[in-house]
């Protein structure tokens, strides 16, 4: 490893001292030595990036100024150095997306990784960093150096870990060579993307030790910056329009610059929910003491919450970290002696109706159904108005969850919470959660906001989240597959098996469109599973209704059938089936 990174640093040094004019010249006459050109390219790409960064920061500075004005107008700027936010202005939080390269991430990671062990860093890098600190053009240098360093590091690492990855790259390069994109100049850095990404290229290059084949595509990528360079001032003047342009620039091309690596190639076994849980248990929770202190601060507010609830306000908690435990504690410590309803909003199948049902059925002891949630709400309102001794505390974890964030659900919950003897305390997590409420709902909710940043992990909340399909979808999809299939006739199961097997056979073909209906029919006939085209179609309709298969019409109008499940799940499924049979 040391060797690799050393080499990288040398290279970084070289790159750094290529003067700008020379670079420009190289690009202008396009006849430089291959190796040098390479460097020039690197250098310049780094530079454009820096330029962009500068623009961004300019924009931001302006925005911040405007925000400050606004804040000053609100008369709130000066008075709370202690309050939350440390005067973070809106501009910092909501700035526009700018085109970025993912190498930046690696770079940052490296920087972060470096910080504590600075003493370990070699003399070379120290020198570099020192020169970098000179005020003029410092940022560019550090950036450049860092990018190079990180690239080398990763290149070395990856080439060790995954040989197959390196071997796939040339194929793509070849493909790229074939693509006739000589006329693309300014767009090259985007069009180059889609399949591949900068640092991969470099990595490839370095692993073949600077003697790699020169691709025209690369020089193209390098030829973008110079005009921009001269326009620097103008750009600064056109900050505003530039901002807009950047936004559209970032969103115009559908192609995105990211690497193609997938988790499967990483040979990392997928974790299911349980193992994930176990593993996380092993990992100690960092900063437990501080988190506890935070929680204690929040807990001291409990009696105040109760008071304010009684006085007609409702309470909403926000801030990073799971607020479940906090609310649980609130419940167990203060609400034991009163009727209360706990709603786990993050539960994937929760609905407003079930909330209302549990109020009518369990709190009000009403048996009977209602035509609509509105009727039900009316009934509840009536009951609460009639009986003034009736009180209900409602605790909703994640009021902003998928199932509850709809307009109608919020309306109903808001109306519910506006009842004088219903006390609502809820938590929100999503950054855009406040957008759920318009003025009318806000006035119904009558919120008091409490910031309760807890930093505790969202264990319960994310356990239902189907989010990282990557890791956990498997078991869920598998169980649903087997469940549905069990309820079908043996023939139907056979048909599905056939399709699954065929799909598994073709798993290595990335452009596999699915099995065409005609072929499938043929196969099924041969296996004596169906006797007519119609029976098969009826069967397929059933599959489709259960979302077991997906049909797609190809370019030639032929219907293709596909099981929308990933390969490993499918394999598991077939194995299970074999066991059953």
């Amino acid at each position: 490893r040391a060797e690799g990174s050393d080499r990288g640093r040398h290279r970084a040094l070289q790159v750094k001292f290529v003067p700008d004019e020379e670079v420009l010249k190289h690009i202008a006459d396009n006849t430089g030595v291959k190796a040098r050109k390479d460097k020039a390219q690197l250098c310049i790409s780094a530079k454009t990036f820096v330029k962009k960064l500068e623009n961004i920061s300019d924009n931001k500075a302006q925005e911040i100024l405007e925000d400050k004005k606004y804040i000053a107008a609100l008369g709130i700027c000066a008075q709370d150095p202690m309050e939350n936010g440390s005067s973070v202005s809106g501009g910092e939080i909501y700035s526009f997306q700018t085109p970025k390269r993912s190498s930046k991430m690696a770079e940052l990671a490296y920087e972060l990784a470096q910080t504590p062990e600075q003493s370990v860093a070699s003399d070379h890098s120290k020198n570099l960093e020192k020169t970098a600190k000179s005020p003029d053009s410092s940022r560019r240098n550090t950036l450049q150096v860092n990018t190079d360093k990180i690239m080398c590091l990763f290149a070395w690492k990856w080439s060790l870990i995954k040989n197959e990855f390196v071997s796939t790259t040339p194929y793509r390069l070849r493909k790229r060579l074939a693509a006739p994109d000589s006329h693309l100049e300014s767009e090259s850095e985007y069009s180059a993307s889609c399949s591949e990404e900068e640092d991969e290229k470099d990595q490839q290059e370095i692993s073949t030790v600077l003697s790699a084949q020169k691709t025209p595509a690369k020089t193209k990528a390098a030829s973008t910056p110079p005009p921009r360079n001269s326009l620097a001032k103008k750009i600064k003047e056109e900050k505003m329009s530039n901002l807009v342009e950047e936004y559209f620039e970032a969103h115009s091309s559908s192609k995105v610059l990211t690497s193609d690596r997938t988790l499967q190639k990483l040979r990392k076994r997928r974790l299911n929910q349980e193992t994930l849980h176990d593993l996380l248990k092993k990992a100690p929770l960092p900063y437990a003491a501080e988190i506890k202190e935070l929680n204690q601060q929040h807990e001291s507010m409990f009696s105040k919450w109760l008071l304010q609830l009684h006085l007609g306000f409702n309470i909403v908690l926000y801030g990073l970290g799971s607020k479940r435990d906090l609310l649980e504690k609130f419940r167990t410590s203060l609400l034991q002696d009163s009727v209360h309803l706990v709603v786990n909003g993050y539960f994937p199948s929760i609905t407003v109706r079930s909330i209302l049902n549990s109020i009518t059925e369990e709190v009000l002891d009403h048996t009977g159904t209602f035509r609509s949630p509105l009727d039900q709400l009316e009934f509840i309102t009536k009951r609460f108005k009639e009986d003034s001794s009736l009180e209900l505390y409602v605790i909703i974890h994640s009021l902003d969850s998928q199932m509850l964030r709809g307009e109608r659900s919020q309306q109903i919950l808001a109306q519910l919470s506006s009842l004088p003897s219903v006390y609502l305390i809820a938590s929100i997590d999503h950054i855009n959660a406040p957008l759920m409420w318009d003025q009318a709902k806000l006035s119904l909710y009558n919120w008091l906001w409490y910031e309760t940043t807890t930093f505790s992990p969202y264990v319960e909340e994310t356990s239902y989240e189907n989010s990282l399909l990557v890791q956990q979808s498997g078991s869920l999809a598998l169980s649903s597959l087997t469940h549905v299939l069990r309820s079908l006739t043996p023939n139907a199961r056979g048909i599905f098996r056939l399709l699954a097997q065929y799909q598994l056979e073709k798993k290595d073909n990335p452009s596999y469109p699915g099995l065409s209906f005609q072929d499938f029919y043929q196969q099924c006939r041969e296996a004596f599973l169906v006797n007519s085209d119609l029976t098969l179609r009826a069967q397929l309709t059933e599959f489709r209704d259960h979302k077991l298969i997906r049909t797609k019409r190809g370019a030639d109008g032929v219907e293709y059938l596909l099981i929308p499940v990933d390969v490993s799940t499918l394999t598991d499924f077939l194995e299970n089936e074999d066991e059953d049979v």
Binding site: S86, I93, S102, K104, L112, R261, L294, T462, V470
Partner: protein
């Protein structure tokens, strides 16, 4: 996902102890209960006061509406006679009620309106909201439901069953509505008239009033259909529509085509603007000596800004005010002294030693003590009784200060509100804020307004002085007797001046007559002389007087408009922790998240996390690192790269023994941590899974590093 917890019946708390909660945390101080009741009674007073204000403000509007309804009603009665003539028009009498953008406040207006109508004019009032009426069918359903229900209320409950049954069965159509209306009116007609007349004051036959609360949000189709249909039946059903409009009356014509709007006979009613409403509320709540509780400058500023920049809702302003009261009484143990002067003595006498210590700890009191001579200082700091006496005196002073403050503030406002460009603000609340903030006479704005006041003309000045006299006379403070006298003296001086001026006028004119005969040269000369004399001459009498008046006002200001926080013991009566208020009412959840993710040290006070600038330490919580890394990416993020980067950071942060044998397990743990962090980010809404590429997630926020 829903769980109901019911305590056993025995344990259930009897009459909830709100006061108990109040005490809970402050078990140290024994006054909590008293404090809570003071707080509640104060709030109830204020609430009723605001309701009264609201009522008064709406009175005009409602009266107009009622008279409109009666007129429209007359038309309907006439219809019997001028049957054919009216048939031609088929116009529905309609009131367009422009209420302003603060939709949330409208409910109150509508409620009082429908109450008024139901009590005085007609039992048949239906309130419709757009969200209940996505289609004409729902609208009719809702309308009929409401009308038939209220008919039950109006009639005695004799035939409740009949109506109940019919309501659910009946087909919702206009014809059935008319049938119902006929049956209802006939029934009332057939009833013994004497009984009816005494029991209700409704007009015969009562009109049916349909109120559309939020006209803008109705679908045009529904509105059009309803209007067209009901216009067909207007001769059978005396319908009156009321549109609640938040924007401008133009919206009617934009929503309805000419063919439909021509079926309406629209009359426009404008409610008082919410800003005026706020001014009245401020006037009645803050600038009155009725309530001992007062708002400090920053708090008031926050409330006003919330109003002006966010919602224009007076209701929210009052809610904020309520919160202020609550906070004040909850957090300030000495707020027990925040009561009417009558109770003050008793309460002060019953103060405990701890409370006395609390008083001694107040910063304003400490400043006061430091200014006293040493003997008194010791007495104040050691003898509770002496302290109590002193406190009582000081608090009385504070109350008196407030009376005087208000009166003088109003006087000053009379002056500043008529100056060009309003250097001290147009509204009295601006002036109030300025005066509370710091010593107003030291500000530039005050200086410039005095300058301007010195240039006022006489008639303005006289009317202003008269207004001031009125204000001071109406105020309860006795201190102003002298001031009033002085102002009256000024007024008489102005009067005298006028007379003197008139006399002089005569002499000037005679002078002019003399000058007529002189030649041009002489004229020039005399003019020059005049000019010179004017320059060198002392100010005219009027100007002198004007200066005197302005100086007097200035000295009044300096005497009475001292900012509240310069007064001793102001902490007891003035609530000034604006940050709490803003945190609760105008929270910034996104900022909090941003801070937590970017600067965890803000919350977790651990030295390791301390970092300068925009970077974070690599020992930060996982989610912070993952967040920081994701900021570096574009629209899509490759999970593998992300994981790789995360691993690099985490490995570096943990001990450098990464190459130990158990690295595989470590890897798994890191992997698991990564998964957790990423799914947390997803929950927070920063990313979402993407189908565009395998193993990619899409970023949902812009910007970054």
């Amino acid at each position: 996902g829903c769980f109901v917890f019911k305590p056993s019946a025995k344990k259930r708390r009897l009459s909830h102890g709100t006061a108990h909660d109040f005490r809970n945390r402050n078990d140290k101080s024994e006054d909590a209960e008293l404090r809570f009741f003071t707080c509640q009674s104060l709030w109830n007073q204020i609430k009723s006061e605001t309701e009264k204000v609201q009522e008064d403000l709406n009175k005009q509007l409602l009266d107009n509406l009622v008279s409109f309804l009666s007129r429209s009603h007359l038309k309907f009665q006439e219809k019997a006679t001028e049957w054919t003539c009216q048939m031609k028009f088929r116009e529905i009498p309609t009131a367009a009620l422009v209420l302003g953008v603060n939709v949330t406040d409208h409910d109150l207006t509508f409620r009082s309106l429908s109450d008024l109508l139901q009590n005085n004019i007609t039992p048949y009032v239906a309130l419709l909201e757009a969200k209940d009426c996505p289609g004409i069918k729902n609208l009719m359903q809702k309308l009929m439901g409401q009308l038939m229900n209220c008919s039950i209320d109006a009639d005695s409950l004799e035939d409740e069953d009949y109506v109940q049954v019919s309501q659910s069965r009946i087909r919702c159509s206009m014809s059935s509505l008319i049938k119902w209306y006929k049956s209802v009116t006939e029934k009332t007609d057939s009833e013994t008239p004497s009984q009816k007349r005494t029991s209700s004051t409704y007009w015969q036959p009562p009109p049916v009033v349909v109120i559309f609360k939020d006209m803008e949000s109705f679908t045009t189709k529904v509105l059009q259909d309803f209007i067209v249909i009901s216009s067909q039946h207007i001769h059978e059903l005396p319908l009156v529509l009321i549109f609640g409009i938040a924007t401008s009356p133009m919206i009617i014509h934009r929503l309805l085509p000419h063919s439909v709007s021509s079926l309406l006979c629209i009359e426009l009613f404008q409610s008082l603007s919410c800003k005026e409403h706020l001014s009245t509320v401020i006037d009645k709540l803050l600038l009155s000596d009725q309530f001992p509780f007062k708002l400090g400058e920053k708090v008031l500023q926050v409330l006003i800004n919330l109003f002006l920049y966010h919602d224009f809702s007076v209701q929210n302003f009052i809610k904020g005010f309520q919160l202020c009261i609550l906070e004040h009484f909850f957090s300030q143990p000495l707020s027990v002294l925040c009561c009417q002067l009558v109770d003050l003595k008793k309460r002060i006498n019953s103060l405990s030693h701890d409370q006395c210590e609390n008083i001694r700890r107040l910063p304003s009191f400490r400043r006061y003590v430091e200014k006293q001579e040493s003997g008194k200082q010791i007495a104040l700091l050691t003898t509770d009784n002496f302290l109590k006496e002193e406190t009582e005196r000081l608090l009385e002073d504070l109350h008196v200060y407030h009376y005087n403050y208000i009166s003088v503030l109003r006087c000053l406002h009379v002056f500043t509100s008529s100056l060009p460009k309003y250097p001290l603000g147009k509204q009295i609340r601006d002036l109030h804020c300025a005066c509370l903030e710091n010593q107003v006479w030291e500000t530039e704005e005050y200086e410039s307004s005095l300058q301007l006041a010195r240039m006022l003309n006489k008639s303005d000045l006289v009317t202003m002085l008269q207004q001031c006299v009125e204000i001071l006379l109406s105020s309860s403070g006795k201190e102003f007797d002298k001031t009033v006298e002085k102002l009256k003296e000024f007024l008489t001086q102005f009067q005298n001046l006028e007379e003197a001026f008139q006399e002089r006028d005569g002499s000037i004119s005679s002078q002019k007559e003399l000058q007529k005969k002189t030649d041009l040269y002489h004229l020039q000369k005399t003019l020059l002389e005049l000019k010179e004399s004017r320059r060198s001459k002392k100010l005219t009498k009027f100007e002198m007087l004007r200066f005197e008046v302005v100086d007097y006002i200035d000295c009044l200001v300096r005497k009475y408009l001292v900012p509240a926080d310069h007064r001793t013991l102001h902490e007891i009566l003035y609530f000034n922790t604006a940050t709490v208020l803003r945190g609760h009412l105008n929270a910034a959840p996104r900022t909090a998240l941003h801070t937590a993710l970017n600067n965890p040290h803000w919350y977790l006070k651990n030295q390791v996390l301390k970092c300068d600038g925009g970077s974070i330490s690599n020992k930060a919580p996982d989610i912070c690192i993952v967040y920081k890394l994701h900021l570096e990416c574009g629209r899509l993020i490759n999970l593998v790269d992300w994981l790789e980067a995360f691993t690099t950071v985490v490995m570096a942060a943990e001990a450098p023994d990464a190459d130990t044998a158990s690295s595989d397990q470590v890897d798994d743990i890191i992997h698991a941590r990564f998964i957790r962090a990423v799914s947390e980010l997803e929950l927070l809404g920063f990313i979402k899974p993407s189908k565009q590429k395998t193993d990619h997630v899409a970023r949902l926020t812009w910007g970054g590093c």
